[in-house]
Amino acid sequence: MTISLKPSNSPPEKLQPTGWLKYLSFSLDHKVIGLQYLVCGFLFYLIGGSLAGAIRIELISPISDFMPREVYNQVLTLHGTIMIFLWIVPVVNGAFGNYLIPFYVGARDMAFPRLNAVAFWLIPPSGLMLITSYFINGAAQSGWTAYPPLSITTPAAGQIIWILSVLLLGGSSIFGGINFIATILKLRRPGLKLMQLPMYCWAMLGTSILVVLSTPVLAGTLILLSFDIVAHTGFFNPSLGGNVIVYQHLFWFYSHPAVYIMVLPAFGLVSEILPIHSRKPLFGYTTMVFSIMGIVVLGLVVWAHHMFTSGTPPWMRLFFTIATAFIAVPTGIKFFNWVATLWGGKISLNAAMLFSCGFIINFVLGGITGVALAQVPFDVHVHDTYFVVAHFHYIVYGGSVFVIFSSIYHWFPKFTGKMLNENLGRFHFIITFIGFNLCFAPQHWLGLNGMPRRVAEYDPQFQLINQISSVGALLMALSTLPFLWNILQSILYGEEAGDNPWEALTPEWLTSSPPPVENWEGEAPLVIEPYGYGEKDSNKIQEVMK
């Protein structure tokens, strides 16, 4: 079988804009699309973060005084939706996936470049639509879960726009998933075996399988929900004989795997970053691959743990308890392997490394509370409380967002050819880490002691802890400033990075920074040992560089 390495159907280069304008165009270059995802995602992150700030301001006092109650519910709905569908999912999958996967498999572009561009260009309009719904007739206000009958009885316009935009974003995600599976399985450079791929490829393969299997279920569910809203059908409307619990099953069949869609790529990225900055091979490559696939399989059969208080039958509660708890085993393997990767290394304490290690610490805590929440008797007390809010922010912020920052520090020299300022980066890490833990750690206590989630007003005995949490949120907001300053400063006046500032062995570093449109001058390098660091082969880097 022969595979052409040139993208056969990309138009002649002169038709595509060059310079910064290409980032606003329907570019087919995977690197441009990757950066489009990243910058677009970050802009939505700033919006989602401002909404989070509004929530924390409201919660400084126990009464509802900062914004109208309806608006508060709209804010929390948009915060969740934006952070999941417009920031974390597109960035850990779309941004880094598009930029890195073709390099890792030794291809010049993704398998379907046009589909790739379409997938990205679905995002900005649906995101803008979601945000403008606030100014039309009020945005959706039933939470990002949109449980009926609340989502059927709240104002229809906002809810319908919400459904439409999540459908488009889901479509974008499916297009991306298909593209990644095809690229990883079919566009590998001749001679490159699956078990020689960098770990991020495996993470993206697993994630894409989850995306393709579970996102259509969400789409179908939301279409039925929209029928209930506009056509007054009764799929989920109890007053018309519908069943509200069926919606929850269908919704969580996607939305639990969605957690793995947000963290598995992050696991992959960390597996790339740690070996390079500790100058050691990735510990236990094979067990890492199997644990990713284990998480994929188990991740599909745990959804009902979100429904332990919905009146789920006892046998179902037991099955989902045990299935959920067992995800801790493959996840645990990955964490022990990462610590073993650090062990005995020559660790550079740079921003990329610090954010990755911050991720490990945060995620371990989120994982521990996750195993606790999987236990039915434990969950029945803390379900739908701030304990859960704390838990999933430790997973998606302490986990995925820390990894996104780590990855930006790590790959920025490749993206731009400029170095970031490491001291500013370390400062950014310290403020983020302190702010994050100050914001979310006290929320465990709030949940255990009786504060439910999604409330604009609460028992006055919780005021002090809420204020501490809000101070943490303020620090998190401020931590964005040194980061933005660093990026701006480096793009304008940054020190030249050279092609391979980290002396890394993975293929994206074996070309110029930023790379040419065809990724490499000449043939793609065959990297069969992407983690070949270690003292015994210290001259390997020189060999590869020749």
Partner: protein
Amino acid sequence: MPKLSAILTLTLSLILGITGVWIAYNVDMLPVSASMNAPVYDELYRVLFIIGCILFIGMTALVIYSLIQFRRRPGETGDGIDLEGNITLEIFWTAVPAIVVLFVGLYSYDIYDRMGGMQPLMHDHSGQMDNQTERVWGGIGSGPIENSSTKNSSSLPIELTAMQFAFIFHYPKGDIISGELHVPVGKEVSLKMESKDVIHAFWVPQFRLKQDVIPGQPTILNFTPTKAGNFPIVCAELCGPYHGGMRSNVIVDEQEDFDTWLKENSKESI
């Protein structure tokens, strides 16, 4: 040397274990326990807390130690050690978490059983068809399982209707309607709950119990208060703009006080 490092590892693990247990027994983060379920819950909580502390402190210490011990000193060049894996270690940290998780699962099953969580299942099989007209299902039970046979005669039935944004309690005995829940201490209460509009949830943090109140599908919740006092009832499922304000109280009285309250408010006796 291997002997020395083995002793060191053993000592550190022992210190870690003791620290975990010490924290779990000295850091109390739970509210007052006021139902028969609560002490059982607290037992599970403590075990999870011990395991969690050991894991979290252990992992954090390992990461911080590695970052300090194996940091690149100024002027240092070259790579770390060439270590691509270790089958024994990898099997070890697959097997140990698997055993811990299995233990936690079995233990929490036992706790669930002691809380009476398996009761609705037993009802399904015992052929009690009296409530088949409505689909009564789910709902975590409470109290020792041997009480289940006498449950119907001894428990106090109360109907709960939830609506935006209030809980309404109805006592069939005496036909009382109340916005607050009055129950006697030490007696099993059987709440039959239904929602008029959207999904709500009935949660009493001091009872460690929560059950969604679902439109179109009645749910049940059994519990036995063990402590007289006044505890909050909180709605825990987003139900609209005033969700945060949807709160009530459960007033747990001594039996005599409860009987007086029942008599004073009863419509039938008048």
